[in-house]
C-alpha cells in the first residue's frame, strides 16, 4: 500500500520530460571547415520541426528514472507485516426492503472488502444476520468464499427487526483492531465501533398492505392498496384464479394514500392470487389467497350435560365443531365425573368434576401463568368446588381457590383434559367471560393438536404449528412455486415457518394434506423505500489499520542515493553535450 497516494502525481513529470526531449533543441551554431562532408548526413530544414523524433539518450532515461524514484519516495510504499491480522465482522440487513438493493450492496461490498483485506496480512471474515436469532452466515478466512456465501445464504426477506443486538455483537467481535460493518439500505445511526455501508436509493412503491376475507364465508374480500410514493401512481391489478388471469383493472393513487379494492373469490376456484403490476418492490405486489377452512372438531357431550345452556352456547360460538353421538368418534368430550372417578386420559376432554363441598372465596383466587388463563380476570368467580384429595402426576393447576385447585389441566401425550373442579349449576362461571374464554382456548388447543385438514391465509415467515399423527410417515412442507419439499420434524405438533416469499404451500403426512396455506407479505413497514439511501464507510479507518499493520520501505535511503546519482549524471551529460 502507499502511505501517501498523492505522491503518484509526481508521475505527471514523466510526460513533461518526454515532451521537453521531443522539443527541438536550439541548434548550437558552429563554424566548420568540413561542411561538404556533412552532405552524407540527412539534413534538416532551416525551418525545422518544433517536435522532433524522440532521441534515445542517456539523459532522457536518467531523468525518467529520477521521476520514477521521486514518485516512489513521495508515495511512501508500505509493506504489510507478515504477522498482522484483523477480524472483519459484517452484519447483513435481512429485512425485506433490503431485497431490492441486495445486488447493489454486494456490488459495492466486493471492492470494499478487497480494499479492507489489503490492510492486513491475514483477515478473518465473519458475516452475521442482522436478526441475531438467525445466526451466522459465514465464518472463515477466504474473501471469495465469504462473497459466495453471501450470494447464496443472504436472503433479506424478513420482517422489520432491531439490528442493535447483532451490531453490538459485531462490534465486540471486531474489537479495537478489527472492523464491524453494517450493510443495509437506509442511512441510520449505528453504535460506536460500527461502520455503515448503505446501498439503497429512494424508490416509489405501490403494494398490498392487507387483505381481509369476509367472515361470512361468501368469498368476498377487501384488499388495501397503498402508495409509498411522493407522486401520483397508477397500477394495473387483476385476480388470478387457479393460475388463470382475470380481468385487469386500474387503480390510481395520490401520493402516500391507500385505497380499498373489493371483490369476490369465485366459487369454482381453489387458489387465488391478487396481483399488482410489478414495481421496485415485488414482494407486496402479490397476495396469494385461499378460502380458509378451519380444522373441524368432533365433540361428544355427555348426556348429563347436554341441557347445559352454557355448553350449548359455547359449542355454537366456537364454530367448526361437529357434535357426535358417540364418544369413540369424538375428538373432544365434554363430560362430568366425580372426584373419586376421574375419566381416563384417553380422550381430550373438558371434565366437570362434581362433588362440591364449599364455596371458594374470591380473594383466594389465584391464576397461574398459563396460556389458558393469561390476561383473564377471575375475581368475580363464585363457585362451590370439589375437594380433590390430591392431584394427578400429570396435572397442573391453572386457577387456585385458596389451597384448592379450581381449574386444572392434565396432559398425557396427545390427550389434554381440562378439569373444572366446580359445579356449573352452583356457580356464576357461566356468566364470567374469563371462564368462557378459558374454555374456548382449551377447545382451540385441542383443535391444534387434533390431526385434520385446514386451510389458512398466513403471513410470510409466520410461525405455524400443525398436528401430526404419531407413528406415521414423514411430514413434508412443499411450496407451490418451486415444488421444493422440506422434511419437518416434531410430534405431536410440528413447528414450521411459512415461506419467506408470497406463495402457496402444503404440509402433508403420508400423502394426507394436513395444512394448505397461502402466505402473503404483510410487513408494510418494509414496503416504504422512500427513505432508502446510500453511504460508504469512511476510508480513514481502513487506512489506519493498514498503516498500523505495515512497515515503511526499508530501501528508502537507497532510492534517495540513486535519485541523486541520476540527477547528477543527467546534469553532467547535458552539460557536456552543451559544451
Amino acid at each position: 500500500m502507499l502511505g501517501n497516494p498523492a505522491g503518484l502525481w509526481a508521475l505527471l513529470a514523466a510526460p513533461l520530460i518526454v515532451l521537453l526531449h521531443l522539443l527541438r533543441q536550439r541548434p548550437r551554431p558552429l563554424e566548420v571547415s568540413t561542411l561538404f562532408l556533412l552532405d552524407a548526413l540527412r539534413p534538416e530544414g532551416r525551418g525545422g520541426r518544433v517536435i522532433q523524433r524522440l532521441r534515445n539518450t542517456a539523459p532522457l532515461w536518467l531523468q525518467l528514472f529520477a521521476v520514477a524514484l521521486t514518485t516512489v519516495l513521495l508515495a511512501e510504499p508500505r509493506f504489510l507485516v507478515e504477522s498482522s491480522a484483523q477480524r472483519v465482522v459484517l452484519v447483513l440487513d435481512s429485512s425485506a426492503s433490503m431485497s431490492v438493493f441486495r445486488d447493489a450492496a454486494l456490488a459495492r461490498l466486493g471492492p470494499r472488502l478487497a480494499a479492507i483485506e489489503r490492510s492486513a496480512a491475514h483477515t478473518e471474515w465473519i458475516a452475521l444476520d442482522s436478526d441475531i436469532d438467525r445466526g451466522q452466515l459465514y465464518g472463515g478466512s477466504q474473501r471469495r468464499a465469504l462473497l459466495e456465501a453471501l450470494q447464496t445464504a443472504w436472503r433479506p426477506l424478513g420482517a422489520t427487526h432491531d439490528a442493535e443486538p447483532a451490531l453490538r455483537l459485531a462490534a465486540g467481535l471486531a474489537g479495537a483492531t478489527g472492523l464491524a460493518l453494517f450493510v443495509t439500505d437506509h442511512v441510520r445511526e449505528v453504535p460506536a465501533g460500527v461502520a455503515l455501508l448503505s446501498a439503497g436509493e429512494p424508490r416509489d412503491n405501490v403494494g398490498f398492505a392487507g387483505v381481509v376475507l369476509d367472515a361470512d364465508g361468501a368469498g368476498g374480500f377487501a384488499a388495501r392498496v397503498r402508495s409509498y410514493a411522493d407522486t401520483a401512481q397508477s397500477r394495473a391489478f387483476w385476480l388470478e384464479v387457479d393460475g388463470e388471469r382475470g380481468t385487469e383493472r386500474r387503480i390510481d393513487l395520490a401520493p402516500g394514500t391507500a385505497q380499498l379494492v373489493r371483490g369476490v373469490l369465485p366459487e369454482a376456484g381453489r387458489s387465488f392470487v391478487l396481483r399488482l403490476a410489478p414495481d421496485a418492490f415485488p414482494l407486496d405486489d402479490t397476495a396469494p389467497l385461499l378460502r380458509p377452512e378451519r380444522k373441524r372438531l368432533g365433540v361428544f357431550v355427555a348426556p348429563e350435560l347436554r341441557d347445559r345452556d352454557l355448553l350449548e352456547r359455547l359449542i355454537g360460538a366456537l364454530g367448526d365443531l361437529d357434535v357426535v353421538a358417540e364418544r369413540a368418534g369424538a375428538d373432544l368430550a365434554i363430560e362430568a365425573a366425580s372426584v373419586s372417578a376421574l375419566p381416563a386420559a384417553d380422550l381430550s376432554a373438558i371434565v366437570f368434576v362434581s362433588g362440591a363441598r364449599a364455596a371458594a372465596e374470591s380473594r383466594d383466587l389465584v391464576a397461574v401463568p398459563d396460556s389458558l388463563a393469561d390476561g383473564l380476570t377471575w375475581d368475580a368467580l363464585l363457585c362451590r368446588h370439589a375437594e380433590r384429595p390430591e392431584l394427578a402426576p400429570d396435572e397442573r393447576v391453572v386457577l387456585w381457590g385458596g389451597r384448592l385447585p379450581l381449574i386444572s389441566l392434565r396432559e398425557s401425550g396427545d390427550v389434554q383434559q381440562l378439569l373444572v373442579n366446580f359445579d356449573l349449576r352452583s356457580c356464576n362461571a357461566g356468566r364470567l367471560p374469563a371462564f368462557v374464554v378459558a374454555l374456548a382456548r382449551f377447545v382451540e388447543a385441542v383443535r391444534d393438536r387434533t390431526v385434520g385438514y385446514e386451510a389458512r391465509n398466513v403471513e410470510v415467515g409466520q410461525l405455524l404449528r400443525t398436528a401430526t399423527r404419531a407413528g406415521a410417515g414423514d411430514t413434508w412442507l412443499r411450496t407451490s412455486s418451486t415444488g421444493a419439499a422440506r422434511a419437518l420434524a416434531g410430534h405431536p405438533l410440528v413447528e414450521l415457518r411459512a415461506p419467506d416469499e408470497p406463495d402457496f404451500f402444503e404440509v402433508t403426512q403420508d400423502d394426507q394434506v394436513l395444512l394448505r396455506a397461502a402466505a402473503r407479505f404483510a410487513e408494510v413497514r418494509e414496503a416504504d423505500l422512500r427513505g432508502a439511501g446510500a453511504i460508504d464507510p469512511p476510508e480513514d479507518r481502513t487506512r489506519e489499520r493498514a498503516l498500523r499493520n505495515s512497515r515503511g520501505d526499508p530501501f528508502r535511503p537507497l532510492w534517495i542515493g540513486l535519485l541523486l546519482a541520476a540527477l547528477l549524471a543527467s546534469w553532467w551529460l547535458l552539460g557536456r553535450a552543451r559544451t
Partner: protein
C-alpha cells in the same frame, strides 16, 4: 578569421626555423638544375663530388691532371666533378578560410609555410611563393605572410571553391610544394592535374585539426561554413558522427590514392603537439621531408 597575434607569428617562424635545422624538404632523388647551389646538379661542376673522367685537353688546368690514371694508363686524363646547383621551389599556400578557422591549424599552416621558406633558403633555392584561393593566384612576398593579409585577398565568388592549381605559374623542373588542408569538394585528380610536374617533384603538406577529424558534436547543431558562409541544421547523434568520420577518412584516402598515382608525396601534419614531431610523424616516412645529412 582572427589574425594571429604577433607573438604567435614569431613563434611560428621560430618553430619553422628550428625544424629547418633538422629537416629539409625532400630534395634527394631527382637531379636538379639551376644556378650554383648546394645540391647536386646534372652537369659537371666545381663541387667535390666526383662526376666523370675525360681526356686532358689543351687549356685545362694542369693541376687537374689525374696522375694516377696516367700511371695506370699512360693517358693524360682529368677528373670532372658534379656541379652544385640551387633548386627551384614553387610554394603554393592555400588561402581558403578553412586553413585559418582553427587557431592551432592556422599556426601550423604558418609554421609549414615558414619551414618551406626556410628550407628553401638554406639550399639557396630560387623560391617563388603563391597564395591560391579558388581560381585566384597571388604571388606572395615573404614580408606579406601575415594571416590577416591572406584573408583579404580572397574574392567573394571564390569562397568555398576548390583551388585551381592550373592557374599557378609553375616553373619546370621545380620542387612544387602545396600547403593545403584539402578540405574542399571536388575530385582530387582534377585538382592535382594542375599540380603534378612532368619533372621535378611535388609535395603536398596538409595541416589538419583534431576538431575536424574527431569532432565532439552532439545534439542540434547549426553548421556554418567558414568559407562559403553556408548553413546547415543537423541533428548529430553517435551514428551521424560515425558517418561523418567515415566520410572524412574516405576523403583523405581518395587524396592519398590520387597523389600516389601521380608520385606526389602527401603528408598530413597534425596541428597538435610540437611542429617537428608533427612534421616527422607522416611527412618524414612519406618522403615529403628528409633529415639533413
Amino acid at each position: 578569421m582572427r589574425p594571429l597575434s604577433p607573438t604567435r607569428l614569431r613563434d611560428a617562424k621560430r618553430h619553422a626555423r628550428a625544424a629547418a635545422e633538422q629537416i629539409r624538404l625532400a630534395f634527394d632523388g631527382p637531379t636538379w638544375r639551376g644556378r650554383s647551389g648546394v645540391l647536386a646538379g646534372t652537369a659537371a661542376g666545381s663541387s667535390i663530388e666526383y662526376h666523370d673522367h675525360r681526356p686532358f685537353l689543351l687549356g685545362d688546368d694542369p693541376r687537374d691532371l689525374d696522375w694516377r690514371a696516367y700511371a695506370r694508363t699512360g693517358q693524360y686524363t682529368r677528373k670532372t666533378y658534379r656541379e652544385e646547383v640551387s633548386p627551384r621551389i614553387d610554394l603554393a599556400l592555400d588561402l581558403s578560410a578553412s586553413m585559418y578557422a582553427d587557431e592551432g591549424k592556422a599556426l601550423r599552416t604558418l609554421e609549414l609555410f615558414h619551414f618551406c621558406v626556410e628550407a628553401g633558403l638554406r639550399v639557396r633555392a630560387a623560391l617563388c611563393c603563391y597564395g591560391v584561393s579558388g581560381s585566384q593566384v597571388e604571388m606572395l612576398s615573404l614580408d606579406r605572410v601575415q594571416v590577416g593579409e591572406f584573408a583579404a585577398t580572397v574574392a567573394e565568388n571564390d569562397r568555398g571553391r576548390a583551388p585551381d592549381l592550373g592557374q599557378v605559374p609553375w616553373r619546370a623542373h621545380t620542387l612544387r610544394v602545396w600547403i593545403s588542408d584539402l578540405l574542399f569538394a571536388g575530385e582530387a585528380g582534377g585538382v592535382l592535374a594542375g599540380f603534378a610536374p612532368r619533372s621535378g617533384r611535388a609535395i603536398v603538406l596538409a595541416p589538419h585539426a583534431r576538431a575536424e577529424s574527431e569532432p565532439d558534436w552532439s545534439g542540434s547543431m547549426e553548421f556554418i561554413d567558414v568559407e562559403g558562409g553556408g548553413r546547415q541544421l543537423r541533428q548529430i547523434d553517435e551514428r551521424a558522427l560515425a558517418r561523418y568520420r567515415a566520410a572524412y577518412t574516405r576523403h583523405f584516402e581518395l587524396w592519398s590514392v590520387a597523389c600516389r598515382r601521380r608520385s606526389i608525396a602527401l603528408a598530413r601534419v597534425s596541428s597538435e603537439g610540437e611542429f617537428v614531431d608533427a612534421l616527422c610523424a607522416e611527412a618524414l616516412p612519406g618522403g615529403a621531408v628528409e633529415l639533413w645529412t
